[in-house]
Symmetry: C2
Subunit: 348 residues, 2 copies
């Protein structure tokens, strides 16, 4: 069965999120731990900025969980850059055993799912799972050099600068990971890389349906069902697809990509990127669950598994979605006031 019900329900001990200046003006601005003023993070290339961003996020999460890097048993992560270099070079700095993952923008849920399985089965006490994206590095790797000033079609999304990391642990907090579902790869034949929401929606539908069936819940059992980065069009397609299978996604459904930006920003269908669900999980969801305002949340990170090469060779875009179910248990408050991982980040 693709859904794994966690017998000991490990804790999401704490999480940390950083976003860029543009994301920091959006509706979730009060929930993020840190908003960058300078998205270069004083690095010479955008790829190095992304790496520094992930490093700060991981260290921030460990620190906010009141742990040291040496308390962490494994680092689970991946990112959108070729050969997941942001994660690998971050793992080098942390000197932690590293389990490198890739599910495109579904990487956050994949990381948390595997991390939770390790803690649930007594293979680790504390692990960290995280990812991030940077608009400028993604743009030049997947699309065009920024200097070219290309126009975007109306179905396009905007890769966020930002990300988040969670510490999964045996130590109690208010939030437990109760079940995870690893998705199948689904392809409905969308070939347009400027319409990724449509490409990923069928995978999200498949995973949500299987997850709910396997845990025996319906959509009304959740305070929030949150997809990763389907965007406006992709979310509408998902609602339609679910309806055909007699699953009604109501007002408790939203999408991290749709929540990220203000209506005044020209981001078309909304935010995207592995950092999108990572930052929303470790800010908004974390705080709402931790305070008991949400009792049960299903996070469904969504990924588009193409590469520039497959697109150039005429392949369609396969999608994947992994799901993580979180519940409020009200053990003890976990949110200490936001601290900065490293001194130099204050001017970030």
């Amino acid at each position: 069965m693709q859904t794994i019900k966690l017998k000991n329900k490990p804790y999401l001990l704490n999480g940390y999120s950083i976003v860029g200046p543009m994301e920091g003006k959006g509706p979730l601005k009060d929930y993020f731990d840190y908003i960058l003023k300078d998205d270069t993070l004083k690095e010479k290339t955008f790829e190095k900025s992304e790496r520094k961003l992930l490093q700060d996020i991981i260290v921030g999460a460990i620190d906010k969980a009141n742990l040291k890097v040496s308390d962490i048993d494994f680092f689970f992560g991946g990112d959108l850059l070729n050969q997941i270099v942001s994660s690998s070079y971050t793992a080098r700095e942390l000197e932690l055993p590293f389990i490198g993952l890739y599910s495109a923008c579904a990487t956050m849920a994949e990381s948390i799912a595997l991390a939770s399985i390790f803690v649930d089965n007594g293979l680790a006490n504390n692990v960290v799972a995280g990812t991030c994206t940077h608009f400028s590095s993604a743009e030049r790797q997947y699309r065009f050099p920024l200097e070219l000033g290309n126009q975007r079609p109306p179905t396009a999304q905007w890769t966020i600068t930002g990300g988040g990391a969670s510490v999964i642990s045996n130590n109690p907090s208010n939030i437990r990971v109760v079940a995870v579902t690893f998705g199948r790869v689904v392809d409905f034949g969308i070939g347009d890389v400027n319409n990724m929401g449509a490409a990923m929606a069928p995978a999200a539908c498949d995973t949500i349906r299987e997850h709910m069936k396997n845990v025996g819940r319906s959509s009304s059992d959740y305070d929030l069902i949150l997809t990763g980065d389907l965007g406006k069009l992709g979310s509408e397609i998902l609602i339609d697809l679910m309806e055909r299978e007699k699953f009604i996604l109501g007002k408790n459904y939203s999408d991290c990509g749709c929540m990220m930006y203000d209506k005044t920003e020209r981001v078309f269908m909304g935010g995207s990127g592995a950092g999108c669900s990572a930052s929303v999980l470790n800010s908004y969801i974390l705080k709402k669950l931790s305070a008991g305002e949400f009792k049960r949340v299903l996070l469904v990170s969504t990924g588009a598994l193409m590469s520039t090469t497959t697109s150039q060779q005429g392949d369609t875009i396969p999608g994947i979605a992994h799901a993580v179910e979180l519940e409020y248990v009200g053990n003890k408050p976990v949110n200490k006031s936001v601290t900065f991982a490293k001194g130099e980040k204050k001017d970030g």
Copy 2:
């Protein structure tokens, strides 16, 4: 602890390997399940050939284990192409829940390690773990177009065409997975992408030392300690590094990259690629362990975690190594005669 001792010791039920024409002339030729006559596999691009190769390998392993695709709970895999597209598109064809991984050429050990953890903890009954590489797709993604006819320096290695997959299961076989170690990322400052053996050797040393310490064994307890693709120079560096730490790697140490080619082939330091340890594990090691000729083997797949972008931006090459310890248990013979997964492969 980065080593996980598997309490139920899941079985490596069976494995399957395919290699290209050049690899099929090497010293291991009698061990591979299938040797391609045409390394394009009748596909229009090398990337599509690689994808077809992985598909045939995965289906071959499932078939050789006397299972159907529908008996498999999860597919663990990754590959060297950007965004691990060979694995993702293979997962699309198989319609299996997919856990996408990336550790460069250490991906086989990472896949088997996670797959074994799933079965060991009762999260799955049968899972498949596999990877492959294709010389021609790797060459043009990481180095130069083949048409350029570039010369290679003497420290270079040769990405193999080939790969392998293993079915990890509760069903008994002669081979058990007893312990796995997830490596740390180690970087000794090598920046030369034509000297990957030197870049990966320190990570191999770190993982082998930690694994042996954690399971309480010394190198003489193994019939074979096998690194992934350090090549001739990297292997010599590893022997030196281990010696400094008072670990003697003797005649029971070898490297898949060194075993792959005949001395007459102009492959310089030997074979490399994620498919290198994948194909050797699922041919030579599988058969020797299965027959009881080996009682205990430590497979240490090694990966270089750079990208072309990090190299261009002046970064050094971080290495990683994951280890999997296999033992002979002599339950029952598993190797049925080699079958072909699909009719069309016979003319491959």
